[in-house]
Assembly symmetry: C2
């Protein structure tokens, strides 16, 4: 398969998740996979910082700064995946996500606010305020999971 055709085939196969109006509707199963991918990467780059903030790992300012830059993007990528069309797809997402969308939206906004405070603190280079912001952001993550994600 030529590389150009390869790209076209993949585009058709995987669908487009970023612009639901401009591109064909994405399958619910794909939306769930994409939002889970975003959450997984948030975990990859945020949990090590929680370990640093809680003294379980040495504080590494370079890693904190790099991950803050990554997270500033990653925190934006899951939300269009919580489309009502995905309610029938198996996942840990609770029905309240769709039945109380105002509360879900508010939880997102809390997370954005806390994560933005963390990114700002990380840029400042102040270790104490950055650690505090990491802990506050972790609480925002956990608060949303407590309310909208099935316990394992």
């Amino acid at each position: 398969m030529s590389r150009k055709i390869f790209g076209v085939a993949l585009a058709l196969a995987l669908g487009a998740g970023c612009s639901l109006n401009a591109i064909a509707q994405v399958k619910p199963e794909v939306l769930v996979e994409q939002r889970q991918a975003a959450m997984k990467l948030q975990g990859k780059y945020f949990f090590p910082l929680v370990a640093m903030a809680q003294g379980r790992a040495p504080y590494d300012a370079a890693v904190v700064a790099r991950n803050a830059g990554y997270l500033d993007v990653l925190i934006r990528l899951a939300w269009d995946g919580f489309d009502p069309s995905t309610q029938g797809v198996k996942s840990r997402t609770l029905p309240e996500t769709y039945s109380d969308s105002a509360k879900f939206k508010a939880a997102q906004e809390t997370m954005f606010a806390e994560m933005t405070k963390f990114v700002t603190a990380a840029k400042s280079g102040n270790e104490a305020s950055t650690k505090a912001a990491i802990n506050d952001a972790a609480k925002a993550c956990g608060g949303c999971h407590d309310a909208f994600r099935q316990k394992q």
Copy 2:
């Protein structure tokens, strides 16, 4: 479970993928899940642009600019997941990824170079040069997949 303990538990459960020296070694299965998550999100935000570049979808400059910003981060997130420890984990990654690591590294660098040209073009706002850069970057993606990923 309190939110703080929740965060700690998740951190311990999922491990840390970003700083292998500073944090406990991540399980191979987790590394594979994380690299697949990064690839999935690259697809989410890049394939719609390929459709635009190839005339299968209307060109949307705002979406192109937004996705370019996301991709500038996403293209950095998969590579530490191709650790030799993951060779025993089921995936589509071909053995050449590990047996010819110089060629794999060169393919990464080609992708970075083409994606960087695309991000620069997208920032310029020039539609023609951005479309050309998208097509070139798609070829770089496909070239690496052709060489290092099992066909489906």
